[in-house]
């Protein structure tokens, strides 16, 4: 299983890739494997500012439902249109490419300092192994 070094991770199995004040957020390869076939992603929080650890969306897999949590506080700028049911409607991208095409939201960080509390690739690897 792969956990890229340039990402930060949460115990809830989200990853975040920071680009300046912006960041992309998705779920890890481990998370998608645990969920199995993902059939729907719901994010109706675009435009909202959501606090760290709060729910910003939901993933439906065949077997189970899982909430998506904010790794850090921030404003939801964009929901990946390729996952959106009203657009690309291809949620299985999360299974196929969790760190690339399967990113879920783009956010604007409220507090860069919160990044220090996240796990690095090594700590996350320990957590899931």
């Amino acid at each position: 299983m792969e956990f890229p070094k340039n990402l930060k991770y949460t115990k809830e199995h989200e990853w975040i890739r920071v680009e300046g004040e912006m960041a992309y957020v998705g779920i890890t390869e481990f998370a998608q494997g645990e969920l199995g076939d993902i059939v729907y992603v719901e994010v109706d929080t675009v435009g909202e500012t959501i606090e760290i650890d709060e729910v910003f969306g939901t993933v439906e897999a065949v077997k189970t439902t899982s909430d998506l949590f904010m790794p850090v506080s921030g404003e939801i700028l964009e929901f990946n249109s390729q996952l959106d049911e009203n657009d690309g409607d291809n949620p299985s991208l999360i299974n196929d490419d969790p760190y690339g095409e399967g990113w879920i939201v783009k956010i604007k960080l409220s507090d860069l300092g919160q990044l220090d509390s996240l796990l690095d690739a090594e700590s996350y690897t320990d957590l899931v192994s």
Binding site: G36, V39, Y40, V55, T58, A61, V62, K63, T64, T65
Partner: protein
Amino acid sequence: MKKTPISDIHEALGAKMVDFAGYYMPLQYEGIQEEHDSVRKNVGLFDVSHMGEFVVKGREAEKLVQSISSNDVKALVPGEAQYSCMPNDEGGIVDDMLVYRLFEDQCSEDEKAFLLVVNASNMQKDWDWITSKNVFDTRMINISEETGLLALQGPKAIQTLQKLTDIDLSEIKYYTFRKGTVSGIENLLISATGYTGSGGFELYVRNEDLAALWNALMHAGQEFDIQPCGLGARDTLRLEMGFCLYGNDIDDTTSPIEAGLGWITKFTEGNDFPSRDMFEQQKLEGVKKKLVAFETEERRVPRHGYLVFDQDENEIGVVTSGTQSPSLDKPIGLAYVRKENSKMGNTIYFQAGKKLIPATIVRLPFYKV
């Protein structure tokens, strides 16, 4: 955790293994969708050796089974099976089960023998319950530990299995069974039953022969693209048919009448199972809540425990099972709702997170094979 005799085979196939009712079981191999499709279109193979098997044998074996079973065991002749449940004394269900009337080659002249197949999660509870009711001249033998069970399911199951046996499988009608040899393994119980709705067989086999049987079936099924299938696909397949799952849709507090299992609750003469009077009254006067099937055009998937509301946001029930249907590609579920809300075509709302998702009550099965 207990293991089935072929857990190393599942691991070698790359299965994701989980603890299910204290057993180390395969949840999925390639994925639920693929495994599900293989059963609907071709053939799939399940290791369900966690199931419990009790033999009931003796002069009064039929009386014992009759005293605990809601279905009419007297209707069975050797070689036939029936679905049934064990009611408790409070109008609920101890467990659901298959009842096989066994052939009497191992019985003395005035004896009968039955095989009860029960859920792994309830094995001890069932054993204690039946034992407590056994005031008859009959003995019970728990053969669960030494008995394996493979379910070969799907439209190509018969062709797959026929390659390995001389028994004419087309003569084994639904819910009947034979004893016979498969791939040189003798004395298998070959049962035309299953939990998928796509036909096929369940094969009861001694533990020591389980690996050989699994391998023979996987080999024979190669030309039909046979897939090993886990508990994940087992659940989606059964739910598309509306088959109840104990612990989800039925339990110690639900009555078979409420659960739509009136068809296995037979009020025939002498069929004096526990809570019979209560169920008879429910059948006559109607029940307060009913298990209904529903589907939605929305994308949120109902799950066990989600609350159900009417259009005025009054709470009217609870979801007992739900999944994304792999065959229909839409969310489906079962729920107990108040009788007045249970009409076919009625709109109900299940609560997913903060949202109320509209769904329509439909007839079972969800998927017509």
